[in-house]
């Protein structure tokens, strides 16, 4: 996961790109076999120990999902904790410092 975040007047814009194939379960591989669905289900953003965003994804979110949102009351130096979990139980968590 790559995160870019910058705060101005206590309002932090957060952008992220999560590396994930986001297989829909409808596409076929080179041999004509269905590629099973493999997609992020839930992505969360925590700020000061509180979940401020819960994003639920289906299979129609693009490969390597991109998300942008804005947190009120987040200053430079604050740490954000971003996590995702997918339908196969894989997950990733990163911490990013607001710039």
């Amino acid at each position: 996961m790559k995160v870019k975040s910058r705060s101005k007047n206590g309002i932090a814009k957060v952008k992220l790109l999560a590396k994930h194939p986001m297989h829909t379960g409808r596409a076929k591989d080179a041999d004509g076999n269905l590629i099973p669905a493999h997609h992020i289900q839930t992505l969360t953003c925590e700020h000061k120990g509180k979940v401020v965003l819960t994003a639920d994804f289906g299979t129609s979110v693009s490969k390597d999902p991109y998300l942008a949102f804005t947190i009120k009351g987040a200053e430079s130096g604050d740490v954000l904790k971003l996590s995702w979990v997918d339908n196969l139980g894989e997950s990733e968590t990163v911490e990013a410092t607001v710039g």
Binding site: V52, V61, S83
Partner: protein, 151 residues
Amino acid sequence: MINRRKFLTVLGAASPVVAALMAFPGTVLAWAENAFKATSVEDAEAALFPGSQAQPSGQVKLKAPQIAENGAVVPITVSTDLPDVSNISVLVEKNPNPLCASFKIDPALQPEISVRIRMGETSNVIALVEAGGKTYQASQEVKVTIGGCGG
């Protein structure tokens, strides 16, 4: 176009501190399987917001292209000036499963979300906003062409 220097500054401003596979926090609510597996906008909406009928609202702003550059990556932004927003959801009417993404919005968040979605064909894109216990919507048609060439 972002030039190299600007780009580096932006990156430097938000260096990820930790990047490791970790146990997922157990505090999240369950993924709304019924809503995501629904095959019509109506069913998805009913699963997301039981008993609520979305009203068209000029206060829901949906930013989407007229003609998608490529259906695999369609940038969408939903924002609203409605008060007490608790959820923003994005649906594509003609996708096999219309619900793309559903965001639970905390009061600490500005009600504005950008996301990149997939579209199989030309379709209405629908933004649903739950605010103050009611549901509002805005929609826009996005054309998807079968591209052959392109840069």
